[in-house]
């Protein structure tokens, strides 16, 4: 009898999670698609026709595909050698570089846009001016307000996605595959090209597609850089349409969003079901220590090259933003005369900023807590039970996470404003739900992988010692997965905290978030205040990273 109760308990859990996902994920998306294909008289492609008769939208679509495609190619071209150098060679300062590159992943992408705007402004960009002086040029080298500029910023902020994916795959690769190549007489370079690269190819493709989708769904960067340069992307067009406010605007936004969603879902399908099937990487139970390639006389030059890269891509932009926050007059260099702490004072005193920070803190904490609870339940269902249907929520969570933020937000607006009996529009709840749908996957993956590394016999030993399964979970499983649970919590918390895209669509007067506030200051009021907020977020990322390292005894850092 007890077994039966237990079974139904699992079913109830699955049912509850699926219900949540159905109501707030599947149904809104389906409604969005349905809406875009129906007019007053049933099925029609009218909406698509109308949208794509505007050259502006065609341009936006082309720009999105072009910038995301180029960012994908450049991102992988940077990430693969970098992951190899940092993970598999005796490069100097590997750990430092690794932390640096991975931390970029936790920084809001729009911060990069703010930095590069200052550095490569065609007239007064700091780096531009400096380079022109250095080489005695009569005119500035770069213009950030171009497709090229957009690709540059997207690449520098999304290559970490590829870097992390490829690094993980490299860590999991059985080192004896490479050893076998070397024993057969291949040089290290030959080994990389003939064994490492082909074996990793599915992961590399998956990493590239991840960069593509992220870049295509990005709103912050194209809106900060694209707007002055009049470069539209699909995401900026969608938000423009929503801001028009009319029924027609909303309907056009829907249609564009469905286009973006279709692109994203095709990519997601390819990367999970085609690349996923071809994973050659075998994870052995023991932690295999990858063999380290000695770079020999290349060690120093390559370290310098990686340092230069880190300097340009990570340190200079972050430093620029930090310096901007202390600058009185943006037209002049940061000297003692031009130094002020005014904007930091604003950051800590202005009610608008503090309120939005509080909103973000609350919604991100709730989303992270609820998300990690679902993650734990899912981890348990996936790794410890054979419950039927446990793959369904897993699939839905993956799907939600792969959907562009704009699409999620728009779908929630359309369905959760009372039309179907639920009205949570203009509340923090709708934000929390949006964050959970978008970022749940990160938490879930972390907990699932930790759980699958715990041998079930550890729990069985608790049962046979007389403990009920709940007690066993508390005494044995929980302490062992605790570091991952903490890490998973922060992986949901951080992106939710500074989220911009969904917040831009979902906010109301009382529920503005810090990401939105920052964007507002950057675009309309004061770049320095925006920079102070951004620097504050950067510091938070560093503190969280340090905290995480302490809490998990060095097992995890972001």
């Amino acid at each position: 009898m007890q077994v039966k109760n237990f079974l139904s308990f699992k079913t109830v859990l699955i049912f509850l999670i699926v219900l949540f996902l159905l109501v707030f994920n599947v149904f809104p998306m389906c409604y969005l698609v349905f809406k875009s294909f129906t007019g007053e008289s049933g099925f029609t492609l009218e909406a698509f026709k109308r949208i794509y008769t505007h050259a502006l939208n065609w341009n936006a679509l082309r720009n999105t595909l072009l910038t995301a495609g180029l960012s994908m190619i450049f991102g992988v071209m940077i990430a693969f050698p970098l992951a190899w150098l940092v993970g598999r060679t005796d490069l100097y300062g590997k750990k430092f570089f690794r932390t640096l590159f991975v931390m970029t992943y936790m920084v809001p992408p729009y911060v990069g846009a703010m930095a590069w705007l200052r550095l490569l402004n065609p007239r007064v960009g700091t780096l531009n001016v400096w380079l022109a002086d250095l080489f005695g040029l009569s005119q500035n080298l770069f213009n950030i307000y171009t497709i090229g500029g957009l690709v540059w910023v997207l690449t520098t902020f999304y290559y970490p996605y590829a870097f992390i994916t490829i690094s993980r795959a490299m860590e999991k690769m059985d080192p004896s595959l490479e050893e076998a190549s070397k024993i057969s007489g291949a040089s290290p370079l030959k080994t990389v090209l003939t064994v490492t690269f082909p074996v990793m190819l599915p992961s590399i493709v998956a990493a590239g597609l991840l960069v593509f989708v992220s870049a295509a769904s990005c709103y912050g960067i194209p809106s900060i850089i694209g707007a002055p340069g009049q470069i539209d992307t699909v995401t900026t067009r969608i938000i423009d349409y929503v801001y028009v406010g009319s029924q027609e605007g909303l309907s056009d936004a829907t249609t564009l969003a469905v286009s973006l969603m279709i692109i994203a879902n095709i990519v997601l399908y390819i990367s999970t079901f085609i690349c996923g099937k071809k994973q050659y990487i075998t994870v052995s139970g023991k932690s295999t220590r990858p063999n380290i390639v000695e770079l020999g006389r290349w060690r120093l030059p390559l370290t310098l090259l990686v340092s230069l890269f880190a300097l340009i891509v990570v340190i200079i932009p972050f430093a620029t933003v930090a310096m901007t926050s202390f600058t009185k007059n943006l037209g002049k260099a940061l000297t003692l005369d031009n130094f002020t702490t005014r904007y930091w004072h604003i950051l800590f005193t202005r009610k608008g900023i503090l309120d939005t920070a509080k909103n973000s803190l609350i919604s991100a904490s709730v989303a992270a807590t609820a998300g990690i609870i679902i993650s734990c339940v899912m981890a348990w269902l996936l790794t410890r039970t054979r419950a039927k249907g446990r793959q369904i929520p897993d699939f839905l969570i993956t799907l939600g996470s792969g959907t562009p933020s704009v699409v999620i937000a728009l779908a929630l607006i359309m369905t959760m404003s009372g039309r179907f009996g639920i009205n949570i529009y203009n509340t923090l709840t709708i934000m929390i739900i949006a964050y959970m749908i978008k970022y749940l996957l990160m938490g879930m993956r972390t907990v699932v992988s930790a759980m699958s590394q715990i041998h079930p016999s550890l729990e069985e030993a608790a049962l046979i010692s007389g403990a009920k399964w709940q007690r066993g979970f508390w005494d044995v499983t929980l302490p062992l997965i605790a570091p991952s649970v903490v890490a998973g919590w922060f992986l949901i918390f951080m992106p939710s905290f500074y989220e911009l895209t969904m917040s831009t669509l979902l906010y109301s007067t009382d529920t503005k978030t810090i990401g939105y506030e920052l964007y507002n200051y950057q675009t309309y009021h004061s770049q320095q205040t925006a920079s102070a907020i951004a620097t504050g977020i950067l510091l938070l990322v560093i503190i969280v990273n340090w905290l995480l390292n302490k809490l998990t005894k060095g097992e995890f850092s972001i």
Binding site: M1, A461, I464, S465, G466, K468, W469, L480
Partner: protein
Amino acid sequence: MSSITLNNITKSYGNVQVIHEFSEIFQDKEFITLLGPSGCGKTTMLRMIAGFEKPTTGEIKIDNVTVSSPSKFVPPNERNIGMVFQSYAVWPHMNVFDNVAYPLKIQGVSRPEIKHRVENALESVHLSQYINRMPDELSGGQQQRVALGRALVSEPRVLLLDEPLSNLDAKLRESMRFEIKEVQRKFGITVVYVTHDQTEAMAMSDRIIVFNRGVVQQVDSPINIYRNPANQFVADFVGKINFLHGESSNGTITFSGGQSMSYSGDKLGSVVVAVRPENIFMTQDRGALRGTLTHSYYLGDENDCRVDFDGNIIRVISSGRSYGEIKAGSQVWLDFDEYLVFQDDGVDYTKILS
């Protein structure tokens, strides 16, 4: 302190039947070994006794109390069983004391009592000096003994051991065998032991149950399993053996190569003669059967030989001291000291181990 009764147990996963119907009673204080190649169903059997798997049909009783039947199922935590897992399952986040104390903490035993009993348990598994160590500071053998201590500390009715020695090196394995046996005698406990190692089974058990593909092949004492195996599988799996094909008629068996020997048993027609290498007596002067010595290997305690018997290579083991007495290539005489005859059903039992 208790018996285990298995009534008509079967186990299937979907359409795959992994345990065929089986009934047996394990007596109080008996040391029972479930022996078989990997994937034969022995671990599943053990896990059903523990309560981690539910039998598809049948009933399990411990001390005549039903713990598993179609209408009743007692979960593992209420069965009062001790178990040592193949991977030891020593909790990495607890020190030796906390690992061993865990079952007592669950029972709500008082602190001083816990301390006392854990110390006793650790003493009986020779781990007293490691009481505050963390598992990752212990060797494999020490972790194994932590697991054993934890299984014994609450003085369970039954102790289940799932290949507990398979991760240890040969020397340690041998000494642990005797330690486990010693502990069993001391605690007077019923033990069910799973292994694929026939030497372990022989050395420790009161009775051995040999499994193959979910079917019980034989339940018997070690000596009977070895000397009177029920079938060719058991004969082949336990110990070393030669199978020779022949025809039996009129009190003689004629081997495929043409030589024959007298036979007083009742098997007729196609037969297989099974003879253990150490039961073949090899001399140069006289005997019943003829062959040619092709190789001999000096192993110290024994002399492991291969003899060409009319085209079949058979293995002969004689004492280590006899090495070198007969040169390779010499004609030898063979006498079968003790052998078994099975009806030949055309199946090669040396090739199907699982």
